[in-house]
Structure formats: C-alpha cells, structure tokens
Amino acid sequence: MSLSFLIRRLLGAIPLLFGISLVLFTIIHLAPGGPLDVYADNPSVSAEALDQIRARYGLDDPVPIQYVKWLSAMVVGDWGLSIRTGRPVLDEIVLRLGPTLLLGGISMALAFCLALPLGVISAARRGSRLDEAVTLGAFAGISLPVFWSALLLQLIFSIWLGWLPSAGMKSVGDGSLSDRLLHLIMPVTVLSLATIASWSRYIRSGMIDVLGQDYIRTAYAKGRRETAVIALHALRNAMIPAVTVIAIDFVTIISGAVITETVFAWPGIGRLFIESMNGRDYPMLMGLMMMGSVGVVLANIIADLAYAALDPRIRHG
C-alpha cells in the first residue's frame, strides 16, 4: 500500500463530497417555509427583528451565493450557529460525540467479537444444525425492528424485573463505573444485535467462497488441521467482502443511532438529530448530515485501504 494510493483515493472523494453537499443544500432550499418559520407564530418577534435575523444569518442572499458561502465556511470548520441554542454547530456536535462513540464503539466491538466466530463456524459446518440455527438467528436479527426490541428490553428488564435503568447514561447523583455500565447494557444489546446478524451473514458467505478454492485444498493436502487452515489461510480472504459493510455500519451508528438513542434517552448524536428536528434547526441538521456523509465516504476509503492490506493482488494490481 503506497502513499500515492491513499492520496488518489482521497482526491477521488472530493467530487463525491461536492455532490453530497449540493444534494443536501438543494433539499433544504426546496423546502417550503424556512428556518425562520419557528418565529412565525411568535408575537414577540416583530417583522423588523425577523429581517434582522434574516440578514444576520445571510438568508436574504441569492441561493447560489448562500451555497458558496456555506460550503467555504464548512470547509474551514465554521459550521454556523445552531438556531436552537445559538452556539456553534461544531461545538454542539463535538459535545455529543463522546456518548455516541462510547455506545457505538462498545456495540461494534462486541458485534465483531460475536459475528466473526458465528460466521466462520457456520461456514465451516455448512448445512449442519448449527449452521441452520445461526442462519435462522441471523434472519431474525435482521428482521427485528430496533425500536421494538428496545421497548421489549425496557419492558422486561426495567419495568418488570427492575434490574436495569431504562434510560440515560448515568443516574442522577451517581456516575460510578458500575452505574454507567448498567446504563450501557440495553442500548449496546439493541445496537449490536442487528449488527451481529448482518455481519455474520457477510462473514459466512465470504468464508464459504474462500473455502471452496484450490489453495485451501492445498493447505489441507500438506497436512494442516482445519483450525489452522481457517485461521491462517482462509480468514484473511474471507474478511474482504465484510470489510466495507463493517466500516459503513460503524459510521452509520456514529452518525445516527437515532432510534436507539431516542428510546434510551442517550445524550448522543442521534438524539441531537431528533432534538434539532423538533426545533427545525437547519444549520445543525445540515452539519449532522454532512458529518454523517463525510463519515461514510471516509469509511469507504478506510475499507479500500483494508482491502489492500488484506489482499496483495489489490495492493499491486
């Protein structure tokens, strides 16, 4: 993997980012009403005040000018002021990033640790009872709506059993490690469940493709045992199809575990999104959407780099 490969991929992402910003900006400006709609019914906001706000936020410029202004500010990290709180968008986002990274990071790590063995074992024992059970479980996991599994967990473990706190990141006046861990259990379970299901499917199908190849037979022929063949010969190549999915899922969770964070009142990015929706906070929503999209683009690049690291044919091809 060379530096030029990395630079080429990064440069290739620029038109993509440009396209994303254009789409998002168009959507917001096609919308009826406008960011100042929230003040429309407010009798204490006079027409003059409204004009002043409009001028202050640059809302009376022609649309293309607004776009250029917005984009050039975006690039240098000036993401504007939140209409809801009046504070810089980027500051608000950074504030919420911590809880989301904590929740997302633990969920994804857990999902990976469980999906990997499940996928590998069910591929190695293809057609067995175990494989059938894992497959069935994966289908169920993919089909389970997260908002419902979240509600069910709350019902069982918070309301009926009273074992786990139903919402938030920590109890008021507490905040010890054990208290925080208890708050993490249910959101992590919900987030990782669907992820385990989908990742194990990708890993399984990647593994099945690899296990049918000649070099695997060669490895067996020279006397390798099955565990060694799988761990040392097959695993690397079997991971390649799953890498993109894993990278993108990770970013998707970071940018919008909207449902899970809402149900469990987790003070992260997803909840910030819903709060901004309720306040029609356009700069914030744009910032969040932009951040999420940039994240997906970066995840794709990282996945490509991981390909190159896993497969020499891509590195040198």
Partner: protein, 295 residues
Amino acid sequence: MVDLTTQTLEVETARSRRPYRQMAARFMRHRLAVVGAVVLILMALIVIAAPWFLPYRYDQQDFTILGVPTPPSAEHWLGTDELGRDALTRLVYGGRVSLGVGLLGAIISTLVGTAIGSVAGFYRGIWDMLLMRFTDVMLSIPTLPLVLLLSTLFRPSPGLLIVIVGGLIWMGTARLVRSQFLALREREYVEAARALGAAGPRLILRHILPNALGPITVAATLAVGTSIMLESGLSFLGFGILPPVPTWGNILNSASGWLSIAPWLAIPPGLCIFFTVLAVNFVGEGLRDAMEPRG
C-alpha cells in the same frame, strides 16, 4: 414469413416454460420461503378484507373508557388505547398502511433503480459516469436521517412519503442492474439483435432486461422489507405517517408512552413488523436460490 414467426414463437414458449417450472420447484423446496409467502398472502388478505369483519372503525372511540388503555377483553381482543380505540382494529388497519407503503415503496425503488442501472450499464460513457456518481452520492448520505430530514421539511402526505421512501432505497438495485447490463450487453444474442437493427430502448427492454429479471425480482422483494422497516422507524419517531391514520410504527410510538401500564399495546405491532419483514426476507432468499442457482 407468417409460418416462421409462429414456429419460433412455439419453440420459444416451449423452451421458456421449463425454466419457470424448475424455478417454481426450486422455490417450493425452500420450506421457510414457502411459509413466508403463505404468511404474506394471509396478511394481505386480512388487511384487505378488514372492513368486512371488524366491528369497529380505526378511529372509532369508546368514550366510556377514555383516558387510559384497557386490557384485552371479550369485546376488545387486544384491548383499547388511551383514546378508547380498539387495538386490534388499529393493528389491522395499520397493517394496510404499512404493507401498502412497503409494496409501493419497493415498486418505486425498483423502477428507479432499474431505469438508472440499465441506462448506465447500457450506454456507458458519460451517462454511466454521471449516474453512478449520483448513486455514490445517495449511498453516502445516511438513509434514516435523510428520510427524517425530508419528512420534517416537507411534512409529506402518505403518498409523498411512499415516493420519498422509494426514492431513497434504489441505489443497490441500480448497481445490481448496471452490472447485469454490463455483462449481458456483450452477449452474442444482443449482438445479433443489434445486427438485425435493434437499437437503444428496444435492446434494453426486449432483449437485455428480461434476462436480468431474476436478480431484480430478488432485490425488489427485499426492498419491501426495507421500506416497511424505514416507514415504521420514521413513524415510530413521530415523523412519518401521522395519527389518526394508524401504521405499525406510529401505534408503537403512542404505545411506548404507556409501556409500564399497558404493555399489551406495544407487543402486537412489533410482532407484526418482525414477522412481515422476516417473511419478506425468507421469500427473497428462496427466490434467490430459485433464480440464481449456484452450486
């Protein structure tokens, strides 16, 4: 000349009937897919026939029990919600909306994806470049936040919501159709048709598209599940289809507020979404096995 065409027609039908029968046989061997298909058909029949056998309307309120949900009883098999409405009735009518959104959203997504993918894959060059970059852009924007954003900006009617849902999940289909076209356009039979003077739209619609229908059908089936999930998530968050029109998502939304005292309201809608999407996924898997036999 006339004789010749009838003859080729006969040969064609005789030949094409067998693969379909084989496909059906392969599908029937897939037990879970068959169960899934039966479940979906039953659900569709139930929600279509709902008005004839349900004693209540979906927005009919019993004012004597207003205020708090009541548990399941002989008159109200699944209980009533806090507005005194029969939960079973709302569930069935909600199914109508949810299944409808799922089906129509999938149709829109499949049409858009097929159109974009076939133009990109057939004409290649600048069209391919532009359309596929656009697809990349749409794939990079996180779907649920984007749907949320659109629904808060445009406050869509159910019809517009279906268009939005379908308009945001076509990217996978477009990529799939494009790759099919890239492979199929080099086949000899396409070359033959081209040599006989067939061009552009005719080649696409008559010669290439029919041979890509297998994977497209699978993608369309899975899109039903994706649309249902997307709409339910949206309505659950309170931004999709708004009450009093019930959907499984917004029933769950209002039930979540009563979770501790009326859990019976929250369980059935979730089960319905779960089993519907599961059935759709099984049918999709069965169709995949039936249409693209590999090993």
